[in-house]
Amino acid sequence: MVPAIVDSLLQRSLEDLIKGLRIQMIGETQYLNKAMEDIRKEIKSTDHQMKAIALQKLTYLNMLHGFDMNWASFHVVEVMSMPRFFHKKIGYLAACQSFSEQTEVLLLITNQLKKDLGGTNEYEVGLALNCLSVIATCDLARDLTPDIFTLLGSSKIYVKKKAISVVLRIFKKYPDAVRVAFKRLVENLERSDVQTSSAVIGVFCELTMDDPVSYLPLAPEFYRLLVDSKNNWVLIKVLKIFAVLAPLEPRLAKRIVEQVSDLMRKTMAKSLLLECIRTVVSGLSDYKSAVQLSAEKIRDFLVEDDPNLKYLGLQVLSTLMPNHLWAVLENKELIVKSLDDEDPSIRLVALNLVMGMVSEENLVEFSQVLVHYALKSEPEFSNKILGSVLSTCSRNLYQLVSDFDWYVALLGDISRNPHCRHGQEIERQLIDIALRVEDARAELVRVSRDLLINPALLGNQFLHRVLSAAAWICGEFSEFLKDPFEIMEALIQPRTVLLPPLSRAVYIQSALKVLVFCFHGYMNKKENMLCDLHSGSRGSQRIVGEDLSLQVGNGGLEVSETDGKSCSAAEGSESVGGEILADFDEIEALRDDGLIFKKESLLHLVNLIKMAIGPLLESDDVELLERARNLLGLVDLLEDSPGFLAVNEGEENANSVPESSEIIELMHGVFLEELTPVSVHAQERVQAPDGLTLPQNLSELAAIIGEDPLSPSGVSIGPPQSGEWDNISFLNKQKQEPEPSGEGKSLLEEHRKRHGLFYLSPSKGETESNLDYPSANVVEAPNDTPNAPSDLVRLTEKTFVSKKPTRAKPRPVVVKIDDGDEVVTQTEKQMKGSKEDLLAGVIRDVLLSGKGDPSSSSSHRKEKNIMDMHTPEENSEAIEKNRHGSPSSKRTKHKSHGKGRHKSSGKNEDNEKHKNGHHQNTKHRSWRRAESPRKVDPQAQVIPDFLL
């Protein structure tokens, strides 16, 4: 005995521990580890005091220093069951802090809790209730329901209010408790003392949020509280309940609207006012006068200096926006000014509101100003702005955008914002627009070019996705390039090593396309010139197209002839060369693209490619390696072929078409076909060929893999990468022809012919003529960026005055696919947890059956209330409605819900039966009880319509 006393005298209390922690010399971690060591020893002591103090210290260290205390859960149980209040309290706090559903020793505390709940000391009861409210499990809730039921009727307010609050946890964990305790809970709703009603309304508020329909029958009680209560806490909760109930029952909304408006006018408390506004916004938005009143009150919030009110006001406003845009527009100046607020939360809400005000007419101005404003905002907010501009503009397939040249240029501007982190989205939109909007391609190429030729941008890793999109666009639509050589240099510049391999692969693939384009242009030009010389009319021109192959056949001979002439002339006599060059110039002046393809520059290009891409043949990245091989393969092929640029020498056999030109023709043909958006359902429409039988699952495959130990983790099964890979392969899907062979081309054409229906006919996009389409707006950031918010204010004024759409030019065609472009498909509402469903089912059962019970005192009161609430006329009207109206159908739905739930609850119980046999009896009883109410004839079981 004596050593124990000495020990406990020497034990450090929690206060000692804290003091020591504050003045420790050995470092906090070391000190705490030492303290933990002591605790581990002390907690095993048989001395109550020592054990309890050790546990207290452990709880402290767990709570504030993150030390684990799960190992001590048995000691927690020990301390909880100590007789002294002081110890008990320490034990209960530790239990609240550390116990969870998984704690095994929870099974041991049922009896202790039962004992404490039944104790005479109200504070001990309070401890047990408090603990239960945090840690109750299904088992605990089931076993302790009778005790809680008793406490609900306690004469001590202190105990009663805690018992009421704990019911929430009990119901959620063990829905069948509703059958026992619900009536008593409802009775407490009718009490007039604030403490009780505050606790009980809190419980109902939580319950109603999870499943509003079930609590409609209680509306009269809630209404009475709304009218009678003077306590703001209670009123706020009642209003929260009505905010979810009112949309379900129009007559209820009609009933409360005056009351809520009245509260709104009279109350001095901002919290209550805010709640009134919210209730109107979410539940009473059909009542114009109420909405008008709340809009006024919101305005009061917005003009206050208090940032809290401003924030909340803006937030409520954004919930009002979908149905009552006018309320937002009324406050547009205040909203726009808030974009400049120093509080980031306020700025964010304001941004959402501003984006909500955007319409087709003001999109351009809004976006422009916001993008400039983003430039000088701090990075995080800047990205939020850019993100919302991007999502607003691309909504519903760019519904709001009418000028795509402008939008494409804006995308370029956004990319250049140094804070921009939306590379992926911009990449998506650039490619999407390129595929869908034919008219925007020229501008897209211009914007892409500007991005590509700036080597500094390669240093920004967030731009890499954008750059790869730009590279793809320049390659795919190279016919729009003003200067292909410059792009070529950009695509193979040394700084591209900064790109991730997949983006680099796109660069190289694009370089391949541009190279083919250059060569093709060169050859084509010669032909043109030739034709001109022969026909005498220099203006005649033929660019790319189907008739080109004819030209090759016809002109091949002359090409080499004339070319030989011109070349030797260039070397020899100045005058002839000059003449030819002049011819060139003139032809080019007449051509739109004005390309200058000279032999020297092409040779230079080829050398450049060989130099830049050559090293990549040793790349580790497969994709990169493949693209590099493609490009160099083409170059080698051209160089080896007899016709390669050698036509210039004039020594070639003039009677045959040069092989190189044939290759280029072929490659050009491959790249010529236009890409169109592919429906997401395209694959589904591909019919399985006859005789193909697909196994139901991949079990056979698994067996094969299992047998083959050499195949490393099933590499061969699927695409080795996903995500980025998909993107890349999409980019190159139709274009990539690794070997420039005639066979490849014919295969591709065959494929297109066969599956043609999955690509949109390009004719759709071609209907719009390019000629009367004005050239792109050049978006240059004004040097003197004006103060954005004030700018916006001005804009809003300007743009909201004239509502008429005054479009300068027709909106270009945006290719849409019937089925594949559904932007948002509403997903089904997520199912709630099974427990909650169970709870809802039981609640409905209780409410439905309970009201029919003549012995229930509350049901009498309710009926009286019902009478109080309605005038006779409304009464009969409502009865009529009810007879034919929805309530009965609602009811049957509930019934079926209930059944489903009961089935599942039965299953649960079955499972549990195996686990602990001694609960069997009670469970069976409750199961039977659960079943009985459903036997009642559904017609007789009307949701008691209090509104009648």
Partner: protein, 167 residues
Amino acid sequence: MIEAVLVMNTQGKPRLTKFYHHHMTAEKQQEMIREIYGVLCSRAENVSNFIEADAIFGPNTRLVYKHYATLYFVFVFDTTENELAMLDLIQVFVETLDKCFKNVCELDVVFNFGKIHTILDEIIFGGQVLETNCIEVMKSVDEIMKLERSSNTILLAPIVTSGRNSR
């Protein structure tokens, strides 16, 4: 429903933590506290007291905080609570502390671990607001502290096995 109550000082040291319905490991709790502190200390003095806490606590949770001297008081809650009412509740809590400790300061919170929890438990019960009247809270807390003291006076009496037997 209130999800959590946190008190931490302006250096980010937690002084009181209470999580009502998030059962998570102690490390996870500490991580959350650090995250919240990171947000709090980045905010200027005269901005709103609300922060959307979706990123830290899951969807539809918000956070209200109040800065008193060297302490931040933080309440985390969901949509069934009113933001301004929560702000008031922080005020109730702090006022009660002030009355219990006569000019409360950080040290009182540091050294009265048990009592602070007793006060909080009288105001918030299982995540629900139980009592908002300062006087009522004080009354219960006084009674509980009295009971606690009286059960802890006979420290030196040997009580080694009696408790175990009486169970």
